[in-house]
Amino acid sequence: MGELEGFYALWYREMKVFTREKSRIVSSLFTPLLWIVVFGGGLGSAVSLGGVNYQVFIFPGIITMTILFSSVFFGLYIVWDKKIDFFKEVLVAPLNRTTIFAGKMVGGSIDALLQGCAMLVFGLVLGVSYTFLAIVMAFLFMFVLASALVSLGLIIGSNMESVEGFQLVVSFLVFPLFFFSGALFPTKNLPPYLLAFTALDPVTYAVDGLRGAILGTSQLPIVLNFAILSAFAVAMVAVGTWSFRRLK
């Protein structure tokens, strides 16, 4: 009972912050829209891939990007929480560390999921039509991806002492995860060095899975994509829980 209420408290806080800081949501959706409208629109006037317009082709990739950025940043944000004493207040509560981690993780994942949903709605403008099954599958992929990446952010954030490391994380983790994922190009016929990185990037399987769910074309079977992504998520959640247990 106590743990459940504690979990609810942490989630409730994230929801309040999410709904109150509207500028954050707007700015987090603005960059993906630029990618779709400008980059996708510009290149799409000349290129079509996998039987669809380039703009539509990168749409699942840009949804993934939206979730990637907001999830990792959500996790990193606890560096701030640690700096101000707010997080100490949570750590000193008579709550299990697993509960604290779960509350943060689910709160952040729902944030990211809501942003992913906003992007899905924008898809209608692009002329994407969804089946009920497509929406369910997209949801599952987005949620598992978000939980994995929020956990990743929390792992880094809980081990990082200052915000100076942010830029490093962005340059050497977030951008590579995005660029190698095949969000912007098909992963068929890649040169071997690129293929290796792409295969190692867990985000690849989210992009491919979402492409399968929304556009009906994917490199790997959807189930395989989902299995790999889920395994990655389980690993991240496990390491994240462990990191939180060690937090002082």
Binding site: G6, R13, V17, K88, V92, A93, P94, K248
Partner: protein
């Protein structure tokens, strides 16, 4: 005697640095107990160990009868903490901050509304409870944090530098609130501070800490009496010390440059005579002993010398209040 907090050789090492050195303390139920010392003396480290945020290197402590090493959950449930830095969530309202705390600290649902109302009243925030904390002043945030620390009916409340960074008027208000809640809630309060006036006015007993060790522990009035009288400060160019040394009511003489500091029993009665013997004097200052004098007596240096970031402001504040 019932002890709210008892420590036994409580020690914390950070590598080679001994932050807290074999601390033996026993704090009675219902008192306001102060840990006074410069920054880096080990006050916050001690507090963190008592609150189970840090594991002691050696020794142990019992808080409300629970061992901080083995019963940390029980300790946490029975204490409240107000941290040094603001720890309320400034995106939320005051009431939401309290609500979250109630959930996390397991305040039963049936009690929640009553307790929240009660603690808001204790710190006079009932009218501003639904404002976002960002709009609060520094003093209001502190009060909210006090209220939050009390919300789950803790038996011991830890306050880490409760008035750090607040203006003098607000500080006195916060002291009033603290004194009031001790009366109303029958809670034991443990305060760390490097403000001598805070320790003096607020605390029933004070432990003076330097380099992780207790150098003196008693009621502020007893500690001050220990100094052996009042302080007379003279500015004089050619002091005649011989005759002063013969006076039996002059307990200590300390000369640095042109400033002469004397510890004198019942200074006002003997001032005339001292001035008569010391020679030509530029200025005189007579004051009662403060905890700073106590600190100086036991450690040989002043609290201010090491007080880091707060130092400059304190010196300015002191210069102003000294005139």
């Amino acid at each position: 005697m019932v002890c709210a907090v008892e420590t036994e050789k409580l020690t914390k090492h950070y590598g080679d640095l001994v932050a807290v050195d074999s601390l033996d303390l026993s704090i009675k139920e219902g008192e306001i107990f102060g840990l006074l010392g410069p920054n880096g003396a080990g006050k916050t480290t001690t507090l963190s160990m008592l609150a189970t945020l840090l594991k002691p290197t050696f020794g142990t402590a019992r808080v409300n009868g629970y061992d901080v090493r083995t019963q940390s959950d029980l300790v946490r449930q029975s204490i409240g903490i107000v941290f040094q830095d603001p720890s309320s969530d400034d995106v939320l309202t005051g009431r939401e901050n309290l609500y979250l705390h109630a959930l996390m600290f397991g305040v039963p649902k049936s009690d929640r509304d009553n307790r929240m109302k009660h603690v808001l009243q204790l710190v006079d925030l009932q009218d501003r409870a639904d404002d976002i904390v960002k709009k609060y002043s520094g003093g209001m945030r502190r009060r909210l944090e006090l209220a939050r620390g009390l919300l789950h009916n803790p038996r011991v409340l830890f306050l880490d530098e409760p008035t750090l960074g607040l203006d003098p008027q607000t500080r006195e208000h916060i002291w009033d609130y603290i004194e009031n809640l001790v009366k109303e809630e029958k809670v034991t309060v443990i305060v760390t501070t490097h403000y001598m006036d805070e320790a003096d006015q607020l605390c029933d007993r004070v432990a003076i800490i330097d380099h992780g060790k207790i150098v003196a522990l008693d009621a502020p009035s007893v500690l001050k009496a220990n100094v052996g009288g009042d302080i007379i400060r003279l500015r004089t160019r050619k002091p005649k010390l011989e005759s002063l040394k013969e006076m039996d009511y002059v307990h200590s003489i300390d000369q640095s440059g042109s400033t002469l500091s004397l510890t004198v029993e019942n200074a006002s009665a003997h001032l005339q005579e001292i001035l008569g013997h010391v020679g030509e004097v530029d200025s005189v200052e007579v004051r009662s002993a403060t905890l700073n004098d106590v600190f100086l007596k036991f450690t040989g240096h002043e609290i201010r010398e090491e007080s880091g970031e707060g130092g400059v402001f304190e010196r300015i504040a002191k210069a102003r209040s000294g005139r």
